[in-house]
């Protein structure tokens, strides 16, 4: 086990703890989707993006667009840890007059773009990537989308532009947890064969275990997969990953833990965290 791996795996557990904590304390949140994408955000912010409070206001840097905005607790948790604001601030989540609301807003330091209505983020990411091309910048733009979100037609409009302009600095990451609010994506509105879809829209596509730190690090270091082509990473994840009774449970899309569930979740995470002391 390399040091980096251990370091990041421990962070993922701590992040999961924070996600549960802030959802429990604020009485609202998107638990399942935040837990499924947290490893992706962990690896991006701690290993790939090099976005810091110091360079945040500059143009010449990488960008990250959190298109599945409802998983805001994952984003706030990571932004807090990489230094954009104090942990104290997170306690105001959902409180009256707080800027920490239930979807990403640029009023919160470190948030790149206001999201929450699904299907917007990829077009914005295409715009950012195009701007970088115009500036002859080598920096990259990452966008995280939900798999249910892919039913929005605007996602595929963005894909056509990405391939027309050969945006090999654009990386779409799909949080492929196979669930949305109503049920399984393939029951609600099937999106398979997803890799073939992206390929036919001009992307190069790879699969990854989106809850595995090492696999994520490796794949993000490999992009772009092909020169002049945008990249799509289909990250197979488990909705609610890391807490046994939340995993793959449809109802946990935006359920808040009861006192008992909260205690159980924290205990599960703490038992895993001990191994990293």
């Amino acid at each position: 086990m390399s040091v980096d791996q251990k370091f990041l795996e421990k962070k993922s557990l701590e992040y999961r703890r924070t996600i549960i904590e802030i959802i429990y304390n604020s009485g609202a949140g998107h638990t399942g989707g935040s837990l499924s994408c947290i490893d992706i955000l962990n690896v991006l912010y701690n290993g790939i993006l090099e976005i810091t409070p110091n360079n945040f206001s500059t143009i010449e840097r990488n960008n990250y667009i959190h298109s599945k905005g409802h998983s805001v607790e994952a984003l706030y948790t990571v932004l807090c840890d990489v230094g954009f604001f104090k942990k104290e601030d997170l306690k105001t989540l959902n409180a009256f007059d707080s800027h920490f609301i239930g979807h990403p807003t640029r009023k919160v330091s470190g948030v790149e773009h206001n999201t929450g209505a699904l299907g917007h983020g990829l077009s914005v990411a295409v715009g950012l990537a195009l701007a970088k091309k115009k500036d002859k910048s080598k920096k990259k733009v990452f966008a995280l989308l939900g798999d249910g979100e892919l039913s929005e037609g605007s996602v595929w409009e963005a894909c056509t532009s990405a391939s027309k302009y050969q945006l090999d600095n654009l990386i779409v990451v799909v949080d492929r947890n196979h669930l949305q609010i109503t049920g399984k994506t393939e029951d609600v509105n099937p999106i398979e064969p997803l890799d073939e879809k992206f390929k036919s829209f001009g992307f190069d596509v790879e699969f990854v275990n989106g809850n595995n730190i090492i696999e994520l690090l490796e794949i993000f270091q490999k992009v772009p997969f092909t020169a002049d082509k945008p990249s799509a990473i289909i990250a197979n994840t488990i909705k609610g990953c890391g807490i046994s009774f939340i995993e793959n449970e449809i109802s946990w899309h935006h359920k808040v833990p009861t006192d008992e569930e909260y205690g159980k979740a924290i205990k599960e995470l703490d038992e895993k965290l001990i191994k990293y002391e």
């Binding site: 959902n94 009256f96 929450g116 699904l118 039913s151 037609g153």
Partner: protein, 312 residues
């Protein structure tokens, strides 16, 4: 007095299920929104009468228009914000311009989504849809209006938009009240001051009225459930006998109930003190629906205080 009823959204779903059981021609279209629309039961009981398009609101409205053109009575159900903002061109062209009598049901409307923020709020829907030809717009106040409008919508032969909130609503009208799309309901008739409101803010006007009565002031209170076509007659009648008119709405102060009242007052040369209460043009404060409405001067106490102050 002031019985707390159910959320209007639940009443909508129950009434629609009853209607759909009687009429197989009724179809519901959802966009990963059946849970939020309280239609899980509908889906179980009448699986052949529900069409699920996934998270694709523009597609939902277009398909609804097509189903309607194919002779079906369609209820397109999705959060009001996405339904009326994202799909606005489908509503404009495929529903309104083409005059398809689809019922568009905006769920968790206004600021019902509270802390989920601006992406999820619909404080633009009256304003934008009012500019479209053919469509009628209704915001039910209590369980009675919530259910009556669905019964009326089944035989309605024009496009119709109905917005629902999700908090339990106090019952305002008795069951014998006459409900008609386009005809406001007078909740109480009084003297010098008129409170006109729509949707979930009507109960705030009613509660303000109770406070005012303890001070010896008897307001006229109107539930203007239909924003379009607007009941000009009732407004003119009430305004003419009032010294003060206050409009209250869970919507931007631009382009909604208040501006429609201003329009009528000005064009009919009615002279009185008038105030529009609604959401101002600013980065909206974060909070629950109730906290936000209170913050923007729409608590019963603040409405009553403003009324008393304007009466002098």
């Amino acid at each position: 007095m002031n019985d707390i009823g159910k959320p209007n959204l639940e009443i909508f779903a129950d009434t629609l299920l009853d209607q759909a059981k009687l009429n197989q021609n009724i179809l519901v279209v959802t966009s990963d929104s059946r849970g939020s629309g309280k239609l899980v039961n509908f889906g179980k009981e009448l699986p052949d009468q529900i069409i699920e398009v996934g998270i694709a609101e523009q597609n939902l409205v277009g398909i609804s228009a097509g189903l309607s053109a194919g002779g079906k009575k369609v209820f397109g159900v999705s959060p009001a914000s996405f339904l009326t903002a994202r799909s606005i061109e489908q509503i404009k062209n495929d529903i309104c311009y083409s005059n398809q009598p689809v019922v568009l049901v905006g769920i968790s409307a206004g600021i019902s989504y509270g802390q989920l923020g601006s992406t999820h709020h619909s404080i633009h829907d009256f304003a934008s849809l009012r500019t479209f030809n053919n469509i009628s717009i209704v915001a039910p106040a209590d369980n009675f209006e919530a259910s009556e409008v669905i019964k009326a919508s089944v035989g309605y032969n024009k496009p119709l938009y109905i917005r629902y909130g999700k908090k339990p609503m106090m019952s305002i009208h008795s069951s014998g009240t006459n409900f008609q799309i386009g005809k406001a309901i007078t909740v109480s008739e009084g003297e010098d001051i008129t409170l006109v409101s729509t949707g979930e803010t009507v109960q705030r006007a009613v509660l303000a009225g109770e406070i005012l009565k303890t001070k010896g002031i008897n307001p006229n209170i109107i539930s203007m459930h239909t924003i379009k076509p607007f009941d000009n007659d009732i407004l003119i009648k009430m305004a003419k006998k009032s010294k003060v008119l206050i409009s209250i709405e869970e919507h931007s102060i631009y382009g909604g109930l208040g501006e429609q009242c201003a329009n009528i007052i000005a064009q009919n040369k009615i002279n009185l003190d008038f105030k529009i209460l609604g959401i101002p043009d600013e980065y909206m404060v974060n909070g629950s629906q109730a906290d936000v409405l209170d913050h923007y001067n729409m608590s019963p106490e603040k409405i009553a205080a403003l009324s008393a102050q304007m009466l002098g």
